[in-house]
Point group: C2
Chain length 233, copies 2
DNA sequence: TCTGGTAATATGTCTGCACATATTATCTGG
DNA sequence: CCAGATAATATGTGCAGACATATTACCAGA
């Protein structure tokens, strides 16, 4: 029994990680309860709790009251999927960022989109198409609908000079969002805007955000051919 | 001053969320310190700490010792990006799952991949190509390299009947991983395996996992045309 | 044997206190 | 006026104890 060596929750966490990893505690297997671990590690139960809770959040452990704690069979890794701030991404590469609004027109989204947005009859929308460039080369073509009823400030803004993404991020907080990633062949319009050939494979992101059941915006972003969205887990 | 109403950390968290959302505390603005909030909410400082820490983890707040806590200017949303367990995904749709190994051959990955893997001279690899089907229709075509040196059990396994993904998830725990998502045009081989036309836009995932600097596997998954990877934030 | 109630148990959380630590603000001497 | 030492402060964390809560295990009665 190693005693009195793990006195902070991070050390406990590391040790538990090590044991899981070294198969001392195999996947699916129960691990000792908090009280016993606290005694073994020479710390308070709260410290062990903090460590185990963290590992549970991370998906490495599964905990249930009374049932105890077991090593997860299929660890679920969580990746931070920040809403891509295109400007930041481009500037981080040392390239110059550009934004151009291509269209700004009030109107009503198609039926299917309205349903997805869970929009109300009274909601008014504006459609904004834009392109963002890196060193002058098209980077993303964006096709967006903004709900003017829930985001009234958007009507005055107009998004002529700054991307709707940035403006909305700071002016229209959202509580929920759906994201989808997929591949699509470049349509006529996409190909022309991005300066690529028709039919080229394009990485596309669909995103809808809500503020407690009130839709804020729906956006589809077409990335220039070859774009890779990367993250670590 | 609302007093004595928020006695658990979730209630405190909800109230703080509400205030941020209602612009009582605007983005970039400082919020009161933990002691004051604890007094206002009628609870212990530790409870406020737990709530604020959680919101900080969620990206809604930014905290720094001595400097205090402020509302994040650009909230970073985290999405759970579970490593897609194709079988589960297919079975959840009520479809029948199928797996077929197309190739199993020892060899050495190309130079570029070896570098990405941070592989050692002595590492041995096996290449596994496979296809997973939903109701008999091709769903994913997978091209994988497995490091036999770090995952010795893989040599006996062979992946003839079960997908390498599933086997590795439970038999080769990883500590780190890189993921990339992108779109590509279906090559000859991809088109034939997935039963689609050459040049079709295909959603592709590249993933490399490590066990403390020892590479485990590198995999490229080509999804059948029309596939959407979805998640919420 | 089955069923419903009860006890046991592991995790979840709160409290009050203490001290650690990072960072800012302030003061002091040159 | 500037630089470096020092104090002040907000968050980070640990501890012991207590109670809450979910869930399992067990037992008694039909």
């Amino acid at each position: 029994m190693t005693v009195g060596e793990f006195k902070n929750w991070q050390a406990v966490q590391d040790e538990v990680r090590r044991r899981i990893h070294a198969r001392i505690w195999a996947p699916g297997e129960m691990i000792p309860n908090e009280q016993d671990l606290a005694e073994e590690f020479g710390c308070a139960r709260a410290t062990v709790n903090r460590a185990l809770r963290n590992l549970s959040d991370a998906g490495l452990l599964e905990r249930r009251r009374k049932a105890g704690t077991r090593v997860a069979l299929h660890p679920v890794r969580k990746a931070t999927l920040s809403i891509p701030m295109i400007r930041k991404e481009i500037e981080d590469r040392g390239q110059s960022y550009g934004y151009e609004r291509l269209l700004y027109r009030r109107g009503t989204p198609p039926e299917a989109l309205l349903r997805q947005l869970k929009a109300r009859e009274s909601d008014h929308f504006v459609r904004v198409k834009s392109v963002q460039t890196a060193d002058g080369t098209p980077f993303v073509f964006e096709d967006r609908w903004v709900n003017l009823t829930t985001v009234p400030g958007a009507a005055e803004e107009g998004f002529a000079d700054t991307s709707a993404n940035e403006w909305l991020l700071t002016h229209a907080p959202f509580t929920e969002g759906d994201i989808a990633f997929f591949a699509a062949s470049a349509s006529d319009e996409v190909a022309e805007t991005l300066g690529c050939e028709m039919g080229a494979a394009i990485f596309v992101i669909d995103r809808i955000t809500w503020d407690n059941d009130r839709s804020i915006t729906s956006v589809r972003q077409y990335f220039r051919p070859g774009y890779r969205m990367q993250t670590s887990i």
